[in-house]
Symmetry: C2
DNA sequence: TGTACATCAGTGAACGCGCGTTCACTGATGTAC
DNA sequence: TGTACATCAGTGAACGCGCGTTCACTGATGTAC
């Protein structure tokens, strides 16, 4: 009777996502999941990674319960939004690894990374690097993939003599994340939209071999 | 009867701080104000600038009403905490303006600024630069004073040929704020406590005249 | 110095709010015949 | 192809929580005599 195997479990806990096996996902379920991710992307972009989950559900036109059926909570939702972004960046890195100039390839990718990181108020920055790690595989994976990308591009630039040897990939990444964070405030400062680019230029200068 | 001048106003609104004229501030009022600022300093350092105001009042051993009697709200409280910090930084800048090496003076001050900005999770960074501006004189003043400090130090370094001429003081400041922000996460990353210093070193390299 | 009193700072329960999250119920969907 | 049915995704009111903020009341403090 106390055998935990046979105790009636209140819910099999779908653990978000679609069922691993059995019936294929229902059409409306797939549609709603996509709408939630799209709404989350917008909301995170506007209000930052702290955007209200209820608000995201509202935007997606679903009840809050539906959001929770698909995602265990905020971290998983953030990870889902991030995944596309990281996929794109990794693909870009792969392309740029065969760029004519190793230095330009690195610079170009960092520009792309900065653009992505600035959208969503540092979501693609701080969160990718730190916060999601606590949530397990999803976050760590994003972090690692980005780090791998910059590591490969930097190593190539270093081998080509286009970047100083005493520069750690993680440091370079962190600097660019810093630019993203410091130039993306709650209300986008209309003062100087070119500032981020200038700052990245300075950092790129600093990476050059002396 | 409708003359707004003679309408009974529910409260003269002390507008925080001590009364401008009339009786001197009461002893316990002065004490409490200091305790609130001290509690706020701690709380902001631990939980960031979003720290709960009720929690701050609790720490200070006063009721939430007392906090509001002394400060109109969060921005004013942040500004009060910031003021000491900014005073210190400005004094340091004044000293360093007569340092032997103009370049070293600038570098030294940026190190101090980074230290201060990292405490309180970017309180001394992002907030000083942006958020408080909306609150009027207090925030703008802090921002301006810091900007004045770095402007003077940078100009001197440029005149001495120790810093490139095409560098705006605001950009330099923003870069360092970025380092502060990206290296100060919610839970301080114990991974690499030296990272911030290394990143600042890179930025300092980038400021050198070519 | 001692005392009566007016002032005004402090108190803290209470309010309204939006948040994250749950769960009993509804009903759309896909399946089996 | 048409229909009956089982499954399970969706719903959304409701909950508990901590937040920022208020305000009627209390009482410590400084002043005047």
């Amino acid at each position: 009777m106390n055998d935990p195997q046979t105790e009636p479990q209140p819910q099999p806990k779908p653990q978000g996502r679609t069922a691993a096996v059995g019936r294929p996902a229902r059409a409306d379920a797939v549609r709603n999941r996509e709408r939630i991710v799209a709404a989350a992307r917008e909301a995170f972009a506007e209000a930052g990674p702290e955007a209200s989950l209820n608000e995201i559900a509202r935007r997606a036109g679903v009840g809050p319960g539906t959001l929770y059926r698909n995602f265990s909570g905020r971290p998983e939702l953030l990870a889902a939004v991030l995944k596309d972004r990281v996929d794109t960046l990794c693909a870009r890195a792969r392309d740029l690894l065969s760029a004519d100039s190793a230095g330009d390839g690195l610079a170009e990718w960092l520009r792309a990374f900065l653009d992505h990181a600035r959208v969503n108020q540092g979501l693609g920055g701080a969160l990718m690097l730190e916060q999601l790690e606590a949530t397990g595989a999803l976050g760590t994976d994003c972090h690692q993939r980005i780090l791998d990308a910059v590591t490969a591009l930097l190593a190539r630039a270093q081998d080509a003599g286009a970047a100083r040897r005493d520069l750690a990939p993680a440091d370079l990444l962190q600097l660019v994340v810093g630019i993203a964070l410091s130039t993306t405030h709650k209300q986008a400062s209309p003062d100087d939209p070119e500032q981020a680019k200038r700052l990245l230029g300075l950092v790129l200068d600093a990476t050059k071999a002396r």
